[in-house]
């Protein structure tokens, strides 16, 4: 019933403007697959191509082995949840959920059972006779989900479904969506620009930029081992330092521009002596150490579980145009909180940090794949 989605070399153009130049991806049957990227990266465009609301200018999209390029949206048997929910305002909750089943001419008694069941699954059975305008945002969201799932679609498509909800409801709804998806086991493509949401909800994530997929991987892989500097800075925060590679001896080392050395046994074999590189350190990958890199605290934010320090390193050590250089101090095991203007020494964790090519395009860590299978 549920299918895999094969996207092969698809192209999207609006007139002369190319939104997606050449994109391929394979979405497994039953997985929760998220398209993540900044606004304008083409993620919604791609989703609407799968749905059938956008034309495909090149390449193919397949549901299992069937090419669906020329099948109109209403024949694709998809379930779609829209950013604005698109609940029919003239129909009650029940009638909304019923709509797709009526089109499919499902027998009356069977229809009733299926609606009753899905209304319970998404927990809106008590509101079933209300008109949508008397529902809260979260309840409308549940109706939209029920309406899309009840028709037993081949794939479920969701276009930023949580972006209109407040922060607390967003977290509640994302686990609700996740639970329902696992319960019915349906292939799901989910679009969001919220990286935290993507990390929390997905089996796999495709990070997109300017119509090109930068990396596909599990949330853990994408966070811990980003394929390029864009992914490392877009997902979570990363501080980028200039570095050089030293290959004398058994183990390669990366050298910061002030001469500080970190030994990195997990670099790829192709690195060469004296190769320029960029070192990426997340705020939580620093620890206080007398032998570490010296820096000055320029401001700090207290966030309860930890304190975020904004740092200044000596000139020429870090890349320009970074919004901030940060260190997160875990307050669970802390001796003291530092003040603004204090100098501290920080040691990057060699097992955690990432190294990229000088042009920021590729990771130099072993076994980091652009597209995992």
């Amino acid at each position: 019933m549920s299918v895999s989605i094969g996207i092969g070399n698809v192209v999207k153009k609006y007139g002369d403007l190319t939104i997606i130049p050449d994109l391929s991806a394979y979405i497994k049957n039953g997985e929760f697959f998220t398209l993540l990227g900044p606004s304008g990266c083409g993620k919604t465009t791609l989703l609407r191509m799968i749905a059938g609301f956008n034309s495909i200018e090149g390449g193919t999209i397949k549901f299992d082995e069937e090419v669906i390029n020329d099948i109109p949206a209403q024949k694709r048997n998809i379930g779609m949840v829209f950013q604005s929910y698109a609940i029919f305002p003239h129909l009650t909750v029940r009638q909304n959920v019923e709509y797709g089943l009526k089109i499919r001419k499902v027998p009356k008694d069977k229809m009733k059972d299926r609606i009753d069941e899905i209304l319970k699954v998404v927990k809106i059975d008590e509101y079933q006779d209300r008109l949508p305008e008397r529902l809260s945002g979260g309840q409308q969201q549940r109706v939209a989900l029920a309406r899309a799932i009840v028709i037993h679609p081949q794939v479920l498509l969701m276009d930023e479904p949580l972006s209109n909800l407040d922060a607390k409801l967003r977290i509640e709804m994302r686990s609700a969506i996740r639970d329902v998806q696992k319960q019915v086991g349906i292939t799901t493509v989910y679009v969001t620009h919220d990286q935290e949401e993507a990390l929390a909800i997905s089996d796999r994530i495709a990070v997109m930029k300017q119509g090109i997929i930068q990396q596909i991987g599990s949330p853990q892989d994408i966070y811990a081992r980003p394929y390029n500097a864009f992914v490392s800075t877009f997902i979570g925060h990363s501080n980028l330092f200039f570095g050089t590679i030293k290959k004398q001896g058994d183990v390669p080392t990366v050298v910061f521009s002030n001469g500080y050395q970190v030994s990195m046994p997990n670099l790829v074999d192709t690195v060469t002596e004296g190769q320029k590189a960029v070192i990426s350190v997340r705020p939580e990958e620093f620890s206080l150490n007398e032998e570490g890199l010296e820096c000055e605290i320029i401001s700090r934010t207290f966030l309860g579980k930890y304190t975020n320090y904004f740092l200044r390193f000596p000139d020429g050590m870090v890349l320009d145009n970074q919004p901030s250089i940060e260190y997160s101090q875990d307050l669970g095991h802390v001796d003291r909180i530092f003040g603004v203007g204090e100098k501290i020494r920080l040691r990057p964790n060699p097992n955690k940090i990432n190294v990229f090519t000088e042009d920021l395009e590729r990771s130099l860590i072993k076994d980091v794949k652009k597209y995992d299978e």
Partner: protein
Amino acid sequence: MTNKKIRWDFWTIVTVVILALFAIFLLYPLISLFLSGFKDTETGIWTMDNYARFFSKKYYKSALLNSFKLTISVTLVAILLGVPLAYFMSFYKIKGKGILEILFIISMMSPNFIGAYSWILLLGRSGTVTQFLKGMGIHMPSIYGFGGMLLVFALKLYPFIYMYVSGALKKIDVALSEAAESLGCGGLRKVFTVIMPLVTPTLIAAALLVFMNCMADFGTPALIGEGYRVMPTLVYSEFVGETGGSANFAACMATIMVVVTATIFLIQKWYVNTKSFAMSSMRPIQPKAVHGIKGFLIHLYIYLLAATSIIPQCMVIYTSFRATKMQVFVDGFSLESYRKVFSTAVQSIKNTYLYCLAAIVIIIVLGMLIAYLAVRRKNWLTNIIDTIAMFPYIVPGSVLGITLLIAFNHPPMMLAGSAIIMIISLVIRRQAYTLRSSSAILYQISPSMEEAAISLGDSPSMSFVKVTAKMMLPGVASGAILSWITLINELSSSVMLYTAGTRTMSVAIYNEVIRASYGTAAALATILTITTVVSLLIFFKVSGNKDVTM
């Protein structure tokens, strides 16, 4: 210190003054009309005879029945013409859309009776098309009677349906349409299960407008109704008729009309209140290109409709430049009709602009004050004002004319035949548009603006004038222009109230057409049409868009 005492601040005084005006010029006349219907003409004693007479004579009952038949037919035809038009214009890329939109609005805003008159010029007994076909040996069916009225009204009123439904279609989020498709529903089925139900409340409101407009219109049936009697013409002939008419019997019939329109109005209001739902559109529907035979048919439909709507207007202008001799058209063109208008009818042109200017000033002031009371000073008194302000919706023009005459035909308020009574009736008839646009803009202006002025030491009256009123003006203006356009074209009530000295252009046109003096009628109608079009163009400029909602 007790707060129970009424505080005589600025707004309390305004409330009382407006209530008094309403009581004198709206409630009192309507009550007079109502009572007058229960009086015997000769003796003046209370009686039910008028009503008994109306409902026992087939002659009168048939007029009521005819009115219903005509109005329902017109409403249905207008829906059948207007809904597909709105759908095509919203969903498909139509060539020349901008100009078409303006044409539809112009044909909507021009007065009904000029439409009727121009169809007479085309298809009447001596109409251009009729004569032309006669030369070829073809005899056209008569334009006079039910068929002609249906034609004129339907072509005149479908733009209301079009405007309203287009407005509603603009508010539909395209995601709703896509949601239907994602659930497996496309094509016509989608239109009927999703799109149409979403615009139905709006369609009902538009249909009501068409219904009221057609039910109340006097000019069209007077000009081409001929043997087909309807209520407005019956009331008119009974009231002003030389053939032994009775004002009391006319009042009785007028009351029956008000009861009918009020009932329909209340049903519509109830329906909209229970069935309507809020729609907000994040991504409105984008028109798609349409090709092939489908595209051709859609364009053909739209162009034909636009042409049939606008040709009569052009016909009037054309006729105004034709040469005439002793009221009969001869070959060639001349400015004779205009010369004649400026020598004989210049008074009516002056009257029109004078009365309408006076009326529009009063309408704007009243509109802004009433809107302010209804929006910002909500209490039971201002609620009453807001409700009474709706009355003109349900009182047909000719009925309003009679109402005012009956009420102000004796001292101390002897206004019959004066310019004042003309202006009063114009104000009552058309203040609704300005009131509506004033309320709408007021909801968008934060009350804190005015509170800031008061906190800085201004009085409530001055802070209203200096702050709120100024900010309201752009919104008020769009409604005021609509009021203005309908004012200059007003016939139904004016034709009841005018005297030789207080004739307006529309009344003059009506008289000229009745006298078969088509040349001067056409010249006057052209002046009126040009004023209307210029006002409309100003409206588009002021409001910044082409959405006319009335």
